[in-house]
Symmetry: C3
Subunit: 345 residues, 3 copies
């Protein structure tokens, strides 16, 4: 019989098991849909209602919620991380077969490790280096002198411009473009003069970059994404930005040129960050916010406006245009009766 025993799971990941150590699991599933042989998890209180009735063989959860668990419990300090590791163990990535597909176009001066996998229709230009066990997905294009580190994977149709360096164990999703020109233009009498974008892009180790995200090359120096940064889909990162290690950025965020994001920051979806500013370590910015000045204190920041019914919102918007005036009216009301001389604002 296949799968692993709960005793094996608990031992491998340092979890406390409450239940039959010889029960076997073969896959992960949600609390709601799990059946025999599945291991599930509970981390979001929203889904606690499914705990009591789950048909999972075991559930990964923390000690506090484990009392309500009627099936085997795998008790973890950090149940989500434990679940992630169990899922990766039960569902390993299908291995890519080493070698270069005959339809790929690889310049002779490129060095491709023998254990690397280069998919169909790939283009690898002169001077590239592809590390051990790296995977280059179908249709990807690697510009001259680019580097892909060991065990990194590019999904289908990734583009690296020239001189883009990717570290080890990265995962770059489809449609990502690394190293396009930054938006450097100088205004002149007759129109725009293009500012040559001469830097590169440097991606650290253990970085994941979501589908259709774009990271521009630096104007002179490199644009830098440090180790263990996690980027969701459709993020735009301008030239000369630096994103600090372990920072996670949700989808559709835009970061303008020359800004620096600290380490262990969390940036919510659709946040816009202006150029030439610094965000210190440990900052969280909630979704749809605008960062237009540097942030020097760790903490949580926000400027998003939640929806209202459209008619009510229209009245708020109309009133906002008169907000300045309302402050003046209140100040006048606060004046002692009889005084009417203007005060300095």
């Amino acid at each position: 019989m296949d799968g692993v025993t709960l005793a094996q799971v608990a031992a491998r990941f340092g979890l406390v098991l409450r239940g039959d150590p010889d029960a076997r699991v073969t896959r992960v599933a949600t609390l709601k849909d799990a059946g025999a042989g599945a291991v599930s998890f509970l981390t979001n209180p929203r889904y606690r209602k499914y705990l009591e009735g789950t048909a999972a063989t075991a559930v990964v959860l923390d000690a506090a919620t484990s009392g309500d668990c009627k099936v085997a419990a795998l008790i973890a300090d950090n149940p989500y991380a434990a679940y992630a590791r169990i899922a990766a163990w039960l569902h390993p990535e299908p291995p890519a077969s080493a070698g270069v597909h005959p339809s790929a176009v690889v310049e002779p001066s490129a060095r491709v490790a023998a254990s690397a996998s280069v998919g169909p229709q790939v283009v690898i230009e002169a001077g590239c280096e592809i590390g051990e066990r790296a995977v280059i997905g179908a249709g990807s294009v690697l510009g001259a002198d680019s580097v892909v580190g060991a065990d990194s994977r590019l999904a289908a149709r990734v583009v690296l411009y020239r001189r883009v360096r990717i570290g080890a164990r990265c995962l770059i999703h489809s449609g990502v473009v690394l190293g396009a020109d930054g938006f450097g233009i100088a205004q002149d009498r007759d129109g725009w003069v293009k500012v040559p974008q001469l830097g590169g892009v440097r991606i650290g180790d253990d970085v994941e970059i979501g589908a259709n995200t774009t990271i521009d090359r630096g104007a002179i120096d490199d644009t830098v994404i440090e180790d263990d940064v996690k980027l969701d889909n459709q993020i735009q990162i301008g030239h000369n930005v630096r994103v600090g290690a372990h920072t996670a950025i949700a989808g559709c965020v835009g970061i303008s040129g020359s800004s620096t994001i600290g380490q262990r920051c969390m940036i919510g979806g659709m946040v816009g960050i202006a150029g030439h500013l610094e965000i210190c370590d440990g900052v969280a910015v909630l979704g749809l916010s605008m960062v237009s000045r540097s942030i020097t204190e760790p903490g949580i920041y926000s400027s998003g406006l939640p929806v209202s019914e459209a008619g009510a919102w229209r009245r708020v918007v109309a009133r906002l245009r008169h907000l300045d005036e309302l402050f003046d009216r209140v100040r006048r009301l606060e004046r002692p009766a009889g005084r009417s001389d203007p005060e300095p604002s």
Copy 2:
């Protein structure tokens, strides 16, 4: 002579014709630029000013506006839908020639219908199924075990990861990425642990997906786009989202993971929708709004702020920071004279 008569148009689409039934039309045109042989339409009052002077042979419009029409009128209850059908009839899509281009790389275990068209430089991995008359545009990459239904068309350079299923009569535009990993990461002491993304993506029938839109695969279950959903360009849809039938979503919208959008909703451009929430059927959200809680009542919702002159807006922003304080000041003013004890807020 080619083209069709107005009598034929009226009969085919159930319209009332006022004018010469034997007049012929060969193409569509705008009211402003139309000439002899063109059929035009009026649905947006903004363009009514061009009705009187149009040189179109016929105009599709509703009964109420038809009085001002000096040329032949094709009167419809729903002129825009009638125009759409007439335009499709007069300007049919050029047919794609069946067969697999010799430069495509198709794994032997993939099943491609004889009537399907597979363009140059396409990659189709093992176990895929391509339905009758389906079209796979140049440079597209289909991951293992993906399915494209009958009469569906993928434009150039679409990417499907493994196990993405697309229904019948869909149209998927260039740069679309379906099935990239959802943004699942668990925070651990030393950094992030990737949560394997094991679900798939399921697209219903009659779905259109705009250029460079991305839809992530589910973490465990599938991400689901139901029948007749229409998605514009550069939309980002997170893992485990479900979008209900007949819902239309404008460009640049972001939908975070595990949220559910009801049927027949209309989501305006650049709207951001947070994760793990539910929007009921029949909701319209105006552009640039933020949905951060579930919406349980059909209706129109908004939180966008229209631009002002920048200096005036700067004053509003400065005042907003003191809004809480202004409420307190007004409350103090409202107190009967003589009372000054603090009230609970």
Copy 3:
């Protein structure tokens, strides 16, 4: 010895040289990192602190700041434009070799200039025209009857649908999709009817388009981008939009269908522009703003909200919902004592 003398630089670009005319420069660098042989520049006051200590051989700057320059000064009225031209002279683009790569698929009816360069895995459909010295990057797909003007460059993996015309000296970055269908759908009883998108896309001369930007084809007429327009990454431009000459648009902007942007406008990052409106010449819109009505006066416009600490912002948001009511309360306070009859709002 290679490089050029400062006398040559000054003469070629019409600059005033203060320093050794025979000193030589070979490359550009930032003030902070420059060494011997490098020319640097100063335009942003933020970086003025690096001027005094720079090891650059020469610095491009304006007369006002040149007094603090300890090394050779190249004094310009417009230092950024002068720097841009010097950088382009010192760091010329590597030339692409003329000819069609054997892996490209080019329909016989396409006309490709002998001096043009067509990269690997490219697809060029019937009736296309590729001008002199044009470069078509690896993996790009050009739909039928498209035109790429002389000296224009498409980076890797650009898609042009059918009948997209690009002028001379343009630069189109990777992942760009030009000519996908506009978002035209008509609501009918049973669901959506697709409105055929029959127009094309017309791009002027000297246009740059950033990575993963999408520009839809017109519904009937063309979508038009005029000369010298500069578009950053991940911009979405709807059908029938016209963008006026010399306008620059930052990343992640969305422009809905049928809107017209004037000449010499500057649109900040993540701005959303509604459909069917007009923005006159000379308008600047700051980042993250929403334009929902036409703008008829040149000037600077804004509606972005900068972040606050999240708790403080939450209180502002809660208060905003009662703003309308606050105005009423203030009006009541303003009434002469004794009057309490309601006033019309």
